[in-house]
Symmetry: C2
Subunit: 341 residues, 2 copies
DNA sequence: CTTCATAATGGGAACGTTCCCAAAACAACT
DNA sequence: AGTTGTTTTGGGAACGTTCCCATTATGAAG
């Protein structure tokens, strides 16, 4: 393992050329080299087991060709698929992408920010728990935000149109005859998420002339535990069968966990209660009954984020852009058709 | 955004000290600085918005304090939880971990290898699709392999004892009265995985004096699609009810997908057929019926891998180690108790 | 054979740190 | 005041590349 000591100088010596020539060979940025020299240098590289030190190269070129995707949870398919879409888009442009998972921890987030600031990445695509836009701007690295922070001015953003997505789901419940819709969502870190879904919820009720019952909106964490808690709190509601006929869950993870908890109490989703989720996680089609949900277009989000980042890395000073993609209804079996009654 | 031009020289000038002193302040590697100087330097840093360029620092120190975790699929909870365990272990030691997801593609894998070779990371924890041990050794970076490649000599390895885990599951099926056990596994890239599970399967049958029926071992991809295919091929088997009473799936993803496909054909897992998985993916407890499975101790694997890497980064020349952890049975409802009959 | 353009090569400087050693400042003893 | 020891500071070199410019070799055109 002493190959770590081998630099272009060693290669140059063995090949009988100058370091400059070796540099021309290993950095594909053009510069003409005669075929024989190329051959000789390559042989020397092979022979010595030389490995380019891209740290050194990066120091000079100010490029790393690495992009960081910072997301809250790689275990959540929603995020991992976005990461994948980014990867698919960026790798052909000869960038490598690495993922940083913050697990909703500000400390971890700060850690990755630091990494980014220290010119370790050429660009960052991120979803921030803390809503610290100023910090992101100060990163000194091209950055694209995933989400839909209203506050995010002057920063590239890609996300779902949550209000629209929420309304799509609500409309479906309404069309199938539901009139007492409960909402489960989170106020995770930023209040804006909540307010977005909650606002759409209220808007919709108002639009349809339905009453707003505050006890029907549940604030829980958008994870499995939250789902179990949600189900319990929902069922603990006295006379719940008359107060609610359906439950709109802030995301699928929540919905799926709630479903299985409901079942434990003998309440069958799709028969006793209508449930609709949001995201369309892969598992949503595997549950029993399969979950009806509003799909967030994650490939498109990831793709758009990557494209935007590419653009921004090329022209850091350009005008910031915002892209919002609509959610689309995925009909499965967890919502009852109440019109039949 | 012109702060990218600020180096320690600018800071030094403003603070009225030398670059060396500034260096002492920003690199926490000791070196004494008087309180007033410290104060002045920090103020200058603040004022200029100086950001340390860790690429430059890394060039000199040969340290990046970044560790790469290269895994086949972040979307698979098995892998993402391992990554998380690694993160939990490494971050307190002031390393940052980034994840590279290869999505089973050799090309992507090669890409990350290249990154690793170019001294971008202090260490790598990886699961390789291609079984190229030689390549890993040539990486020139401390590396820990996750898996249990028999061929992996002279390389640090952490993994599950798949043979043992398989037998645990088989034994459970056996104890509950199953005698005609089918096996579904993959020959993904490396034949060794297959042979490990298949070998344990054959061993077990032999041990118990049960006949080995080659038509009962299904070779499919260990993903959702494989699960659907598996179910179809299984049911296409003429007179299957008499030929098989249970199905051992190579992993949970496969088992879960197969379960929901079975259901489509009116075959109810846990009643008409016994199914057992491997891994204990989070979703396994959410299916209907909840999936009985053999849990791979992913936290322990991740943790052990991180510890091993730490050790290896400190002493690259040390003796390679191998750690194999046993799988443990997680009993839920997808296996029938056939003794009652 | 000269002339000129072009291709191929080499040498020095630069990128922004850290490391090493020497110098200076200070303090505490003889 | 001189010696010694310690803390604090500064300057040069080094890390391994790429970039820029100068030089030499090559070949085509006159």
């Amino acid at each position: 393992m002493k190959n770590s000591k081998i630099s272009i100088y060693e290669v140059a010596r063995l090949a009988g050329v100058s370091k400059s020539t070796v540099s021309r060979v290993i950095s594909d940025r053009g510069g003409s080299v005669s075929p024989e020299t190329l051959e000789r240098v390559n042989r020397a590289i092979e022979q010595l087991g030389y490995r380019k030190n891209s740290i050194a190269a990066g120091l000079r070129t100010r490029k790393t060709y690495i992009v960081l995707v910072m997301i809250p949870d790689v275990a959540n398919p929603f995020w991992s698929e976005i990461a994948r879409a980014v990867q698919d888009k960026l790798e052909p442009e000869s960038y490598s992408v690495v993922i940083g998972s913050t697990y909703w921890s500000e400390e971890r987030e700060a850690r990755y920010y630091e990494l980014a600031q220290m010119s370790r990445f050429d660009g960052v695509i991120l979803n921030s728990v803390t809503d610290n836009i100023e910090l992101i701007k100060k990163l000194g690295v091209p950055a694209v935000l995933i989400g839909e922070r209203v506050a995010a001015q002057n920063i590239d953003t890609v996300g779902t149109d949550t209000m629209q997505a929420t309304k799509v789901g609500m409309q479906y419940l309404y069309d199938l005859g539901h009139r007492r819709i409960a909402l489960a969502t989170s106020e995770h870190g930023s209040e804006r998420y909540l307010s977005l879904r909650a606002r759409a919820y209220k808007d919709f009720l108002h639009e349809k002339g339905l009453p707003f019952d505050p006890s029907l909106v549940f604030s829980v964490n958008l994870n499995e535990e939250g789902g179990r808690e949600l189900a319990k709190r929902f069922l603990a509601m006295p006379d719940w069968r008359n107060r609610a006929d359906s439950l709109f869950c802030g995301n699928d993870i929540l919905a799926i966990a709630a479903m299985s908890e409901f079942r434990k109490f003998g309440i069958i989703p799709g028969i006793d209660i209508s449930i609709i989720g949001m995201d369309d996680v892969p598992a949503a089609s595997q549950t029993y009954p399969p979950l009806t949900t509003v799909r967030k277009p994650r490939e498109r989000i990831g793709q758009a984020a990557a494209e935007l980042l590419l653009k921004r890395m090329e022209n850091p000073a350009g005008q910031p852009e915002k892209h919002l993609f609509p959610g689309e209804l995925v009909i499965r079996d967890s919502v009852i058709d109440r019109r039949k009654r």
